[in-house]
Amino acid sequence: MRDVAIVGIGQTPVREHWDRGLRDLAVEAILAAMDDAHIRRADALFVGNMLSGTLGFQEHLGALIAEYAGLEGIEAVKVEAACGSAAAALRQAVLAVQSGQVDVAIAVGVEKLTELASKCTTNALAMAADADYEAVMGLSFVAINALLMRRYMYEYRVNKEDFAAFTVNAHANAQHNPFAMFRMPITREQYAAAKMIADPINLLDSSPVSDGAAAVVVAAADKAWEFSEAPVRVAACEVGTDTVALDNRENPLWLKGVERSARRAYQKAGISPQEIGVYEVHDAFSIMAALSLEASGLAEPGTAVRLANEGEITPQGRIPIATMGGLKGRGHPVGATGLYQVVECVLQLRGQAPAAVQVPDVQYAMAQNIGGSGATVITTILERLTK
């Protein structure tokens, strides 16, 4: 298996893109990534997406997006793993290039959540859960996370207000990211006063419904410098799974999917969790950020909220997370999110992050994309390359 690198990145702003369709967004991100890699062709395209069929009545995205991106004729398929779709697509691109079957692969994640009224979107997002045994009980995706948060508060004696640290950090960072949806800071007071959606989760615990696309170009590492002035090595891109329904997990507060995926990734990269300089966490809800930090070996069980309140998750802290806003501040176009995280890690490693959130001298950055309440987890570790 040969080493692979990311040699090009592209992203659209995360917005409610009323004036732009799914293919427009995907093509914009792909072309930006291709320009960044100075290429006009590729051998394969992997499209991450969750809801194009349900919300946009459009499937068959592989061929469709290849055609409109000027790549008609190449191998192209869609990859779906709920909110983990984009990193799952990256995994396929990495495998394709690693195996030698493909020389240049593009992974793009794209989602258009604002296509239908918000009620439909709520129901559609719940498709990441078990339809017959969770969603049918009137359980929205928010409510599933609320079940986790309530138990966490109970078991570890954590106050609801203390979760504010995650939201405050995400928004503080998002204001510097031109691609982020919410570019304004928020205060702990605003957090405490936010409208309740599914108690104890309020509006400011939750990532926004939004549209966007992000893409990367993957090539063999030994050719990486032919494409890019600042290639980044894919040290690991590993998938772990867990039960889809929360109730089938012995200890729901321990995300086994995260543990499995992260452990495989550390092993593949040959590093320990402590060597991670930036961690783009899947903070779809504040509780997911806390549970992910713990199951990834970056905080002891029950201590992630304290870690956040001690300032350790800010760009100046010991383990910076959501450095460009995370899902909360940048936005969460579900099937695109995993590649936004990867693009942001690449910017950090290149030293091209906005100055206020640039973490100095990052050697390893980790992006972790989660499908559902932890059923599919893809952990990608990227390493700075020097010539």
């Binding site: 709520t122 009980m137 009137g138 409510a143």
Partner: protein, 132 residues
């Protein structure tokens, strides 16, 4: 959801029928074809008693489509006596009376109505334990 799909799930919805592994004795809900514990495939139907305690809960204020009329309602993770956890609404209780650890029992109630013309779906919910 379509009619055959709901009909197919009647034993689960109305009487919490799952499976029991004949090799290791593990019980499962929902029913399975492969035992998650020992990977055995010899499973038999098992009806849960429907008594347990609340492991966690949430009060839903923004409901999915079809459930708006019921807000605020409580959805809980319930630990059954037989050692299985299920997801279900709590009923016959106001949201501020719910607490983690409280004993509950299963009842069959309306889950939702699919508009004026559609099906009315019934299934298990849990209420505070009345039966001694």
């Amino acid at each position: 959801m379509d009619i055959p799909r709901n009909w197919r799930l009647r034993d689960q919805r109305y009487r919490l029928q799952g499976t029991k592994c004949t090799s290791c004795g593990e019980r499962h809900f929902p029913p399975r074809q492969v035992c998650p514990r020992c990977k055995g495939r010899a499973l038999e139907p098992y009806v849960f008693k429907g008594r347990g305690t609340v492991y966690s809960y949430t009060v839903v204020y923004q409901a999915p489509e079809g459930y708006e009329d019921y807000v605020p309602y409580v959805v809980a993770l319930v630990d059954l006596e037989e050692g299985v956890r299920v997801t279900a609404q709590l009923t016959d209780i106001s949201p501020d009376e719910v607490s983690i650890g409280m004993p509950v029992e299963m009842v069959v109630r309306k889950l939702y109505e699919e508009g004026d013309q559609g099906i009315i779906l019934y299934g298990y919910k849990f209420r505070p334990l009345l039966t001694p």
